[in-house]
């Protein structure tokens, strides 16, 4: 090992140490926990701990609630994720056009939901969605629709939560998109214009390709966030009706902190970790190809 390598390692050491302590150690510990049957009895007496290899995983994959929870989570991510991206891109384009006045004001307004407290707005939305007294149904009533039992009807419960999540989250990705839009050189638009590209053509062939890296970043951030959804259904529906809003993290919470089956909950967490890792990889591959 020469002096240069040693110096490099020395400079890397603090970062590696932190990543080791705060990432690799917990992941390994979590995986180790998922191979045991850590539960209530183990808290009472550590000798009640058993190494059970992959039994937690086998039991999980064989239980219907696990598939329900992961199905709900995927539904949430596959509908809510693209919706967030579309809404935030639209908002970013609107806020960013030269025609818009009071840009700073609109940016702030659209960003405001992001800084609200998730639990508080979930409770507020619960009121808005109230089947009889909620504002949403009142408004629908005026145009002759509804009433819809937003959170009580198995068909609508998850959709209602998606609407809340999109409203709450799009401001953050909008800011990222605005930053990306501002990085696109004006000359490209001018050149496209001279070449005869209309607004749609410019958007399709200049804006979208130039936003490529931003899409990747936003896609990954949104997917990670969406796959970990917990607080909204926890506050609004507790997983009901008919388990339609039980999500992966909620299943983990229930098993871990309600029944205190820590080993089993760790297995849920680890599977979720793999799913999120896979989702990220797929997106990166997809972007590389383009």
């Amino acid at each position: 090992m020469n002096a240069e390598t040693r110096a490099a390692l020395l400079f890397l050491a603090p970062a590696m140490l932190l990543i080791g302590i705060f990432f690799f150690a917990p992941v390994i510990a979590g995986f180790a926990l998922s191979l045991t049957d850590f539960d209530l009895y183990t808290i009472g007496d550590i000798h009640n701990l058993r190494f059970i290899a992959l039994r937690n995983y086998r039991e999980l994959l064989g239980s219907s609630i696990f598939w329900t929870a992961f199905g709900n989570t995927l539904y949430f991510a596959l509908v809510g994720g693209p919706l967030t991206v579309i809404v935030s891109l639209g908002a970013a384009l609107l806020v960013n056009t030269r025609l818009t006045r009071y840009k700073a004001f609109f940016r702030t307004v659209y960003f405001a939901p992001v800084v609200t407290t998730l639990v508080a707005v979930s409770i507020v939305f619960k009121y808005l969605y109230h089947p009889r007294f909620g504002v949403v149904n009142r408004a629908l009533g005026h145009i002759g629709l509804g009433p819809v039992d937003w959170l009580g009807d198995p068909r609508f419960a998850m959709l209602s939560i998606i609407i809340l999540a999109v409203w709450k989250g799009f401001g953050y990705t909008m800011i990222i998109f605005i930053a990306g839009l501002q990085n696109i050189p004006e000359e490209l638009y001018e050149a496209a214009k001279i070449d005869g590209a209309g607004p749609w053509g410019r958007f399709r062939h200049v804006t979208v390709p130039m936003l490529g890296p931003t899409f990747l970043f936003v896609g990954i951030v949104v997917a990670i966030g969406q796959l970990q959804i917990f607080a909204e259904p926890y506050v609004m529906t507790m997983g009901g009706p008919l388990n339609r809003t039980v999500t992966a993290v909620m299943l983990m919470y229930q098993q871990g902190f309600k029944w205190w089956r820590m080993g089993y909950a760790a297995a849920v967490a680890f599977i979720l970790f793999l799913v999120i890792g896979a989702a990220t990889l797929v997106q990166m591959r997809f972007q590389e190809k383009r």
């Binding site: 049957d37 539960d39 209530l40 009895y41 808290i43 009472g44 007496d45 009640n48 058993r50 039991e59 009580g152 009901g240 009706p241 902190f257 309600k258 029944w259 205190w260």
Partner: protein, 422 residues
């Protein structure tokens, strides 16, 4: 100059704060749940007056978060000195060794008189012969019914046996006295539990290591339950499909409902005035005439002392205080929660009431649910399978087999632990 003066003032403030009178009293931390946690604060001045050296600090915890919070507190070594606890949770907290053994305290106490408590209720606090809690208030299920409808079909005092019950339901349905004879929401497992206990089922085997669901007592009760749906006596609806229980009861959608003491107050408040005197409560019907009533579940909350507490003597005094019959009556007046002691039931507010005596009678015939920490998970499987059978998507045999299988999986750890002890 200005700055120096401000600094001086600050120093002076800190100095007074430090020298200020410290509370020398022993600090007793008590966690109360939900409404009870709120109301218990009103009883504390009297306790502190009698025990000037103790200061009780009440922390109120919502019911929905209480179970997790208590368990987490135990794991995080931050349990209070004493707490209110749902009596079905006690086996779980015993398994994690969180609770103090109260057996010697109860034996020596002059205030807590074991014989004054309902047997079934007391039993919920005893795990493997050791007492871990003192019942605070009780909860059980009885039959609420439209007395006008039941009188019209010949049972003005409610059915006393299962045969009478079936006959009443048959006539209600045949004579169109109400739309449905009975409401048993399919997402409640309590009706199945009480039917099974009435039919003599222990629910689990003796050491709580296997389900006893395919055995005749449970199977018979389950069959009885499902039959009510098959014959159309009960609608296969869940709680969330019932928009307004009280309105539907009043307008004759159903004539009977198995529910708990909180609904006495709710029925009075929410039923229209025209329903006055047209509804009543009765103990659950017995399996046959050889028993006085059916068997219901022993619910309610107990007072427990945590093993890690450093103020156990003060905590015991507090438990004794809350257990006094006088305080039990006061607590009933404040909350509507039914007292756990027989002597408190002589209070006119309870004894002279038209609806509570049925509970008094039922409380003599209540049984604890199986005292294993896994019970709640097994119970959620019961309503899940019960719902499938009631809705006709599963045969009763398949449902019972599935229940036993589920219980066997959940109880595997217990079997392993017991086999290791031997």
């Amino acid at each position: 100059m200005m700055r120096i003066r401000r600094f001086a003032i600050l120093l002076a403030l800190i100095a007074t704060a430090c020298s200020g009178q410290r509370d020398r009293r022993e600090r007793l931390e008590f966690w109360g749940l939900g409404r009870e946690g709120e109301v218990v604060a009103e009883m504390i001045p009297e306790f502190e007056r009698r025990n000037p050296s103790i200061h009780v600090v009440v922390q109120q915890i919502p019911w929905s978060a209480a179970h997790e919070k208590l368990l987490t507190a135990h794991v995080g070594e931050s349990t209070p000195d004493a707490a209110q606890m749902g009596n079905t949770w006690i086996p779980e907290f015993v398994a994690v060794k969180a609770l103090d053994d109260l057996t010697p305290f109860v034996a020596a106490s002059r205030s807590v008189d074991r014989r004054d408590y309902f047997d079934g209720i007391w039993a919920t606090n005893v795990v493997n012969g050791t007492t871990y809690g003192v019942p605070w208030y009780v909860d059980t299920r009885v039959l609420f019914y439209r007395s006008d409808v039941l009188a019209a079909v010949g049972f003005p005092n409610g059915p006393r046996t299962w045969d009478e019950w079936l006959e009443a339901m048959r006539r209600i349905k045949a004579e169109h006295r109400s739309r449905w004879a009975i409401l048993m929401p399919t997402n409640e497992f309590e009706p199945i539990e009480v039917l099974a206990m009435t039919n003599g089922s222990p629910l689990l085997n003796a050491d709580g290591t296997r389900g006893a669901f395919r055995q005749p007592p449970f199977a018979g009760a389950f069959e009885f339950y499902v039959e009510l749906f098959r014959r159309g006596y009960a609608p296969a609806v869940s709680n969330s499909e019932i928009s307004n229980l009280y309105q539907q009861f009043a307008q004759g959608d159903f004539a009977m409902h198995i529910t708990g003491p909180w609904n006495v107050g709710e029925f009075r408040r929410r039923l229209p005035a025209s329903m006055n005197g047209k509804w009543a409560t009765a103990p659950l019907p017995a399996r046959d005439a050889s028993a006085p009533t059916g068997v219901s579940m022993a619910g309610g909350a107990s007072l427990v002392i945590f093993a890690a507490s450093k103020h156990k003597d003060a905590a015991r005094k507090f438990v004794e205080f809350l257990s006094e019959p006088k305080q039990q009556i006061r607590f009933f007046e404040l909350t509507g929660d039914l007292p756990a002691r027989r002597s408190a039931w002589s209070a006119p507010a309870l004894a002279a009431d038209p609806h509570f005596p049925a509970f008094r009678k039922q409380l003599e015939r209540v049984q604890p649910l199986p005292k294993v920490p896994e019970w709640e998970q097994i119970a959620s499987a019961i309503f899940d399978r019960g719902e499938a059978a009631a809705r006709g998507t599963s045969s009763t045999t398949a449902a019972l087999t599935a229940l036993d299988a589920k219980a066997d999986i959940l109880l595997e750890k217990r079997r392993w632990m017991l086999s290791r002890k031997r």
